[in-house]
Amino acid sequence: MTNSKVCVLGAGSTKYGKLDESVIEIALNAAKDAIDSAGITPKDIQAGYISNVFGVADKQVHMAPVIMSNLGISHVPGLTIESACGSGSVMFREAFANVAAGFYDCLLALGVEKVTHTGTVRSTTLFSYCSDFFYEGGNGASFPGLFASMARAYMNTHKATEEDLANVAVKNHENGFLNPKAHMRKKITIDEVLKSPVVASPLKLLDCCPFSDGASATILCSEEFAKNSGRPYMEVIGSGRGASPAAVQGREDITTIPSTVAAARQAYKMAGVTPKDIDFAEVHDCFTIAEIIDIEDLGFFPKGKAVHAVRDGATRLKGEIPINPSGGLKSKGHPIGATGVGQVVEVFDQFTGKAGERTIPNAEIALTHNFGATGASAAVHIFRKVDRK
């Protein structure tokens, strides 16, 4: 028997940043928050979906059974999914599909990462393994370098400037300043971005998200399960997946990410909404240029126009389409296995009155977008607030 509607009943996150705990302890802290938030016990959980990329850096792969065992439910099957920086959303999609298919009525969907203890140089190398290494990492491109090449192509095609990119960083740090769980909880100025050290031209340090540790978790369930709980919840009304050539060189147009376009098209169609219906969005801003490309590919702005919209304030908390109210990857942080789930946690917090000063009033429909590597894989989800009154 299938479940025609899939809901998010609970959500929780650790703080993102440099964390001392082991990768498993970080995961369990987020799991406990999500379980408490849903008002369930581990005995209600029928499966565990876990996203993680660099568990090996903390001496733990095959993570799902370890997490299940430490939640006291070792008999519950788990699965660990990797899709680079998009692992969280890709895993969430598989969890969603399994509830929709009727295999489970309640499951844990959790993303976790711990990488900062390896240091910046080693972390940079580990991340480069997410590229098409023979053509990219192996020829000297770091991840900032790959996105810098996309930034140069975009700036050349659309006559955008480094200051246009810096506007994204300033806006996301404004939002992240209001998020107690953000890694980089500090306001910054355009001047500070432009004067920060160059990492890979034209991108500078403050165009880049940080390496972060952290975990985020959600409880996904059937509508019947959610209704019976008597607690606030939201419905997943759209889900899409997309793919792009793994290497940047394989793309005819380097100023767009085909996986985003495909995933968004599917998600909008499933949800029966258009970009104009979205009240706010959490998008994949691993670098400032990524957010510019994302919000055009998601249909919020025409190609080449996002930089003007950002400059005019359209994407700020009180703008026409707030983008990354959580602070995004840029300020909230980017624990890559957790990031896509963390975006869902932000939507849940917004819809259930837990977003504090960054609350977007009267928001009812929101979108999350998260991709792996330079967009080789991507997933988009759309959520609707369920009014329990």
Binding site: F134, G145, A148
Partner: protein, 129 residues
């Protein structure tokens, strides 16, 4: 069958061998004529798997690039360099490689000519202006 598999596993080796002769190794689909880099095993357009090997002149124009101010592990001793995406001359095919000696964007305008200079086990596909 074993021989065929063994041959397929060496696509990167063949690509590298051609790069050392300053060429780009590609293959053209026998069925639809689409041209791909040597490392792709099925046609991107029609999924056929029979190809004609094509050695292209290793020359092209810069599509985009970055200058890696912070070099990744293995490239710390490479000096100032660019990672470059280039379009192969007279083809729709694009490649990417390592171009040493680039310090500022004025050294490398988009559209500039680059050539394959060889393949270095440490730094990958080496380009030169």
């Amino acid at each position: 069958m074993m021989e065929e598999l063994s041959e397929k596993e060496k696509t990167r080796e063949k690509f590298i061998e051609a790069a050392n002769r300053k060429k780009i190794l590609a293959h053209r689909c026998n069925k639809c004529g689409h041209l791909m880099l040597e490392t792709v095993l099925f046609c991107e357009k029609c999924s056929a798997s029979k190809f004609e090997h094509v050695e292209l002149e290793g020359s092209g124009t810069v599509v985009t690039y970055t200058i890696q101010a912070v070099a990744p592990e293995g490239f710390e001793d490479a000096g100032s360099y660019a990672w470059v995406v280039f379009k192969v001359d007279n083809q729709q095919l694009r490649g990417s490689g390592f171009l040493p000696g680039v310090k500022t964007p004025s050294d490398l305008p988009i559209g500039m000519k680059v050539r394959v200079a060889g393949y270095d086990p440490k730094h990958g596909l080496i380009l030169q202006k």
